[in-house]
């Protein structure tokens, strides 16, 4: 396992930014376009992680096809990484024993020993307007993920219900099932559709779960009526 990357998360939770301190020849993979500023000794290389096939897989995951690899050349340097949406950033250290499931737009940065796979959810996310596409993160090393709004960590032991639009990440020791709130009966279907309570994800087992305090889909629904109306 490569040595840990020194980091600091600043301006949390509303405008979190990730400041990485790369040692000479140390590398990190960052979401394409998320680099904000860096020392000039850092070299940037765009790449399709895990080969073209997996890159296309990631495209379906709602994640951009390309990630960028940053390497400090000859000396150490600072790299500032900013997610596209204002919110929080959390660090997770993968030790190879368990993997992490991350909401598709939540990827910020990862150490070279970390593998990212988009896992097409297919039927599981089929009914949700807000599709639940998840990245499966495995391997060993540092990983950072981001949210819209603040992040709340919930240690699940037993079962828990989360509105699908508020999921940030969870450990894969948890079982999950996307469903209409309280089961699919007509009455509850009514609650779900008219109630604005979209699909929920039912977690069971024991493991950590991270949720965010704002929902991108709700935000977009707020903006939508302000769009100009087609005149024809």
């Amino acid at each position: 396992m490569s040595s840990a990357i020194a980091y600091k998360i600043e301006h949390s939770p509303a405008y979190a930014s990730l400041k990485l301190n790369l040692k000479p020849e140390q590398s990190v993979t960052v979401e394409a376009g998320a680099m904000a500023a860096m020392d000039s000794c850092i070299d940037m290389k765009s790449k399709v992680k895990g080969g073209l096939g997996k890159g296309i897989g990631r495209m379906f995951g709602g994640e951009s096809l390309f990630t960028s690899e940053f390497t400090a050349k000859g000396q150490s340097g600072y790299l500032y990484v900013s997610p596209g949406v204002p919110g929080d950033i959390k660090h997770y250290a993968l030790d190879g024993s368990r993997s992490l499931m991350v909401q598709s737009s939540g990827f910020v940065a990862a150490a070279p020993g970390v593998m990212i796979d988009s896992k097409f959810q297919g039927f599981k996310g089929f009914f949700s307007g807000e599709s639940l596409f998840l990245l499966k993160v495995t391997g060993e090393g540092d990983f950072w993920f981001s949210s819209f709004g603040a992040i709340i960590e919930i240690p699940v032991d037993g079962s828990y219900v989360v509105d699908t639009g508020y999921i940030v990440a969870f450990e894969d020791t948890l079982n999950y099932k996307v469903e209409v709130l309280n089961g699919l009966s007509f009455k509850n279907l009514k609650t779900s559709i008219f109630g604005g309570e979209g699909l929920v994800t039912h977690f069971s087992g024991s493991g950590k779960l991270w949720i965010q305090t704002r929902n991108v889909a709700s935000f977009v629904r707020f903006i939508h009526p302000f769009r100009p109306v087609k005149s024809n």
Partner: protein
Amino acid sequence: MKLELLHQPDSAVAKVLLDPQEEILAEAGAMVAMSSSIDVSTTLRKGKGGGVLGGLKRMVAGESLFISVFRSGGSAAELYLSPTLMGDILPYTLSGTELVIQSTSYLASTPGVQIDLGFTGFKSLFSGESLFWLTANGSGLALLNAFGSVYEIDVDGEYVVDTGHIVAFERTLDYSISKANKSWAGAFFSGEGFVCHFKGKGKVFCQTHNPGSFGRMVGGKLPPR
């Protein structure tokens, strides 16, 4: 019931701890996450008066409110509630008093508080957004949300507030809504659509940002729908 407000003021979220057989009402869609033992049901609140036709008109105008009731079962349970936009949550305790709430600022309330569609709203001529008001009566706690931070104005006499910045106000105040500018052209060009004139003694809660202005700024840059 215990209430904790986390991550104020930008990303505020309410964590509600319910005792067994307790309930809380919230705007439908406000639920973030909860214990799986909580039971949810949703009802539609429509304005009073105007008969069937009046009720229909209000629904068309968007003047309706879906409220979800979250009820814990035999064991204690927890529930997270959050608003749509970035900003703060304001807890307001009612004790026989009446509070007028801007409809989009309502987040949640305890069962002792009655929420009604208060007085008829009006449609802004310039943006097409409809603005309507809820009244909260009774005793208990109401949770309000703001776009940005909340500030409080103690009115004693007269005060003028842009309608887009009002979160809620105490009903001890008299109010009237009018154009900010005397002439229609002036009202149109100044961007200040409507203002609320307050008279009397009571509190007005304002938000630092105007959701309508923000929506127009972002929405105007998007392709037509």
